[in-house]
Amino acid sequence: MELLNKIFVAPFADMIAAPDFLMQVLWEGLVSGVLYSLIALGFVLIFRSSRIFNFAQGIMVVFAALTLVGLHEMGVPAWISVALTLGVMFLLAVTIERVVLRPLVGQPDIILFMATIGITLFLIGFGEIIFGGENKVMITSELGIPTGDIVLEPFGGLLILQHIDITAVLVAATLVVSLLLFLNKTRMGRAIRALGDDHQAALSVGISLQTIWVLVWFIAGIIALVTGIAWGSRAGVSFALEVIAYKALPVLMLGGLESITGAIIGGLMIGMLEKLFEIYWGAPLLGGNTESWFAYVLALVVLLFRPQGLFGEKIIERV
């Protein structure tokens, strides 16, 4: 009986008793969710255009953030460091297309996936040689990102909104809208979508595979930099940031690998639901740390009913 109370009554009673705290939980979940969506977007873009599951997305976040901080430490002004970092990410995209992807055109998907694992290992080693493994401070204030907070008192309680989190949400939302506009309203964007829909047909009408690959890897690099700044502002820049990319995997399972909408909604759902579950059910009933598995369980439940994910395309193959 007590167990049933803890599952079905106590959590909701807590929510009603402290609505300000519930709002804080939802806000923190929203911020995490936006950031998960950002990482997932990097995966989706590359998968849509090339059917490659980019295992290197996580390390690209680390690499972009370390490059930014590293350049600034060398005395380069903050915003010039951002521009130079984007240049480095572009060079990385060109190199990956030339050295890794182009020789593997026509190979099975699993080979391309393995190649991205190779890219990951290379970037870990290369990054550690160049930047070292120590935790670095993100240049938040130098970039003009506000660091204070807004304290509200809804229902006579307390709600703290960090400026940095508000900025992250706004920047991520702007980036997502820009990406959607780019993909839907521009010639290059339509070319990316065409390549995702039908490789052969896209190639037959003159869309350049090489150009599109460089472009999507560069966009993934831009997303990695924004993600790196947002996460790095929270707890510093180190190779531990790579681990955060694994949080995007259940987002992709939930939202579908090809769907940009799925990445956004999947990220937001997981971010908010995992926080709610952890605070109101996980910690009291299971001792906490449910965030490490909750998202996967949720994604698996969805897959049972929709194997292509919530927004993935249903694949019908003729035998």
Binding site: F21, Q24, V25, E28, V31, S32, I124, E128, G132, G133, E134, N135, V137, D149, I160, Q162, W231, R234, A235, G236, S238, F239, A240, L241, E242, V243, I244, Y246, K247, E274, K275, E278, I279, A283, G287, G288, N289, E291, S292
Partner: protein
Amino acid sequence: MKTFRTLALATAVSLVGVGAMAEGIFAPNLTYRTGPFAATGIPLMDGQKDYMTMLNERDGGIGGVPIMFEECETGYSTEKGVECYERTKANAVVTQPWSTGITLQVLPKTNTDMIPILAPGYGFSPMANGKVFQWAFNPPASYWDAASMIVQDIAAGDLGSLNGKKIALLHLDHPFGKEPIPVLEAMAAEYGFELVLIPVGLKEMQNQSAQWLQIRKERPDNVVMWGWGAMNAGAITEAVKTKYPMDQFIGVWWSGHDADLKQVGEAGKGYKSISWSMPQPDAPLLADLKTHVYDKGMSEAEDTNAVFYQRGLVISMILAEAIAKAQEIHGTGEINAAQLRDGLENLDISEARLEELGMSGMVPPFSTSCDNHTGHSGAWMLEWDGEKFVQASDLLMADAAFIAPLEAEKSAEYAEANAPWPVNESCN
């Protein structure tokens, strides 16, 4: 192809067999300079390496025998750590596992492999019981010592005042993070405070908003942190963000890293960390290091006054003193693992000896014996002043009377679970 094969073979031999071929004492270190925990590992391992380099450069090693101090990278992964142990054990006089997870894995092998484990300030706390853990050493203080000293500091000397209080343990969800739980639970039962366990998963280290929401919900009087690597900076940042009072937030000795606090700077003022080592920028040892290591370009250290770097120096000093003691006991320079075990069991790091080493004040004096493999040196409380850690207490001592029975109980349980487990009853 033949050239390639020859090259590959030569490389393999040079990587794996150095300890076997060269003359000297082979002391491998299972490092983690890469991965999510590298931020903690790098300064510690730089300190360890620099101290041994200095001994080799200044004195030609220890007792005239060079020290082959080699690193095997684990990335703090238990699996890789066990691989490193297996790869290096043939010629090693010691293993330094550098993770409680790796320590727990290699611990059962020590009786058969006869290689001493040196785990300064980490590992399984009952390793203090030398009767049961004949090959394991965790000087100068154990995690249970740390927990005891932290609780005493919270109680300001009056343990009765803890009755009715709530203490949260924010810990890495890993063998290391779980290590203080038995002693804290026992203390909670004894002194009447409530212990709230708040685990942090490896993937959540940099985003601990859920854990700090729980802290806000539970409203503990104090938060004790058992963090490592990226978890520390993540927790301290969230504490600042959620406006948790910093003077009620205390970390274990691996949660007192300068670089982690620099993430928040002034906002972290008041945060405390228990520490069995104390940075001494003016220690004569530093002058020797400058002459024999830094000026020769043989060090990679970035901040030689940082808490963790200087703790690394102390850790290698403990090993060096054990080697010297083993040489003295057995009358030979080229000691083996069994002889080093005797050295580790007869350490006497007195005030006078620290003075001779140019390390006064860097670690409290301590000694080990047959049945005391920890030394229980005590520790100081350090406090972040906004820029650096400063001393915030006199030397604190763990409650030995409270911890000893628990050590005996848990070590007996371990021996029983791993039977047949040899116990040295001749220890007094």
